[in-house]
Symmetry: C3
């Protein structure tokens, strides 16, 4: 718990949850060499799933909070992949962000920034990642945001 990134998380007032269990028959992450592929994490926190549709019943600010929860869940999986030591992170390589939204929605980048900004706050330069953000007409269980990630560790 005394690692650099864990300290930073504590400063930001965030406690990582237990790594969420997958919603179905797969594993939360696979490690190949120094690369960790983390399954799509849906927007959920201690209060439960964060459901909504951007452009309809959900504001960009609510979407950003949902995206941040995905980032926290990605970190929880990454920590598990690192046997509990987040400081083994070398680089956040790539995020794939999916926004549950209406056909005329256009602010996907702002929404996924809820994850990217938080990752930058926690990891600094090691958090600078490539990214794609797209719209989905629907997401699993009705969640507002889903984000998958690729990480390099040591």
């Amino acid at each position: 718990m005394s690692g650099t990134y864990e300290t930073r998380l504590a400063e930001l007032g965030v406690t990582l949850p237990d790594a969420p269990a997958p919603a179905a028959n797969y594993v939360p992450y696979v490690t190949v060499g120094d690369m960790v592929y983390v399954s799509g994490q849906i927007s959920q926190d201690a209060d439960g799933r964060i459901n909504g549709k951007l452009g309809d019943d959900f504001t960009v600010e609510q979407g950003q909070a949902a995206a941040k929860s995905c980032a926290i869940n990605l970190m929880a999986q990454l920590k598990a992949a690192c046997d509990g030591d987040l400081d083994r992170l070398v680089q956040v390589v790539k995020l794939g962000g999916f926004v549950n939204c209406t056909p005329d929605f256009a602010d996907h980048p702002k929404v996924i920034n809820g994850a990217s900004d938080f990752i930058g706050e926690v990891f600094g330069n090691a958090g600078k990642h490539a990214r794609a953000a797209v719209g989905s007409s629907s997401l699993p269980l009705g969640v507002a945001v889903e984000i998958e990630g690729i990480f390099q560790i040591k």
Copy 2:
């Protein structure tokens, strides 16, 4: 034909088709070192394309069958990438599943389980993969499911 996984496929009553040709100007897989990137495989079998929209004219069970056909097509491509020897598989690393569905559909995980469950049946531990499953408002040629995959081979 006497490989471990081929035997398992035969026990499950599945014969891999010839690796489907891409629907357009690209290749079905690219190998980099020990990693194989397989192009998105659409739901189709010996009877032709499996078209439909979940939440509209397609049940979850039909969606699962479509997803299983994608998994079989991924295996056919993987076999080709392994010069015919599926036992060179080390690990199914990551699946990306896209479900053609209506805006209020929420059972994407159950649908893509049609692929994940089958992969687990065939490959066992080597089949434990990371995954993302999302909704698409439409998919190529009207198919119900499209799944891309990353595999580690030896």
Copy 3:
């Protein structure tokens, strides 16, 4: 400017733009070993963003032109990742193409061919890539196409 691929681009009448800045808080590419992960590039050229929805106000031909602009932007990012020397490309590994379209649209492969064909014209065998093409109900800022890419360089 005298590299093989730059010469080919010039023959095709294409000048790579400066690598487009990301639309939000992330970086345009991350390099891990010999792999370059390029962020999703939206359809835009010197005249600005290429916005539209396939199946509604946009023809397949317009979509192909939008996809080609994404390919050009991917190349611009790749060139930056190669410190200006495109000839360091070993292989275009994988493209992920997202088409902004209506729920009944089915010609995603033809649209993304606008990128794949151009990449083939420029890079030849090194341009033969795996690919997934799917429909999105909406894309960032209303663009018609977004494409992400993975490249192997030396």
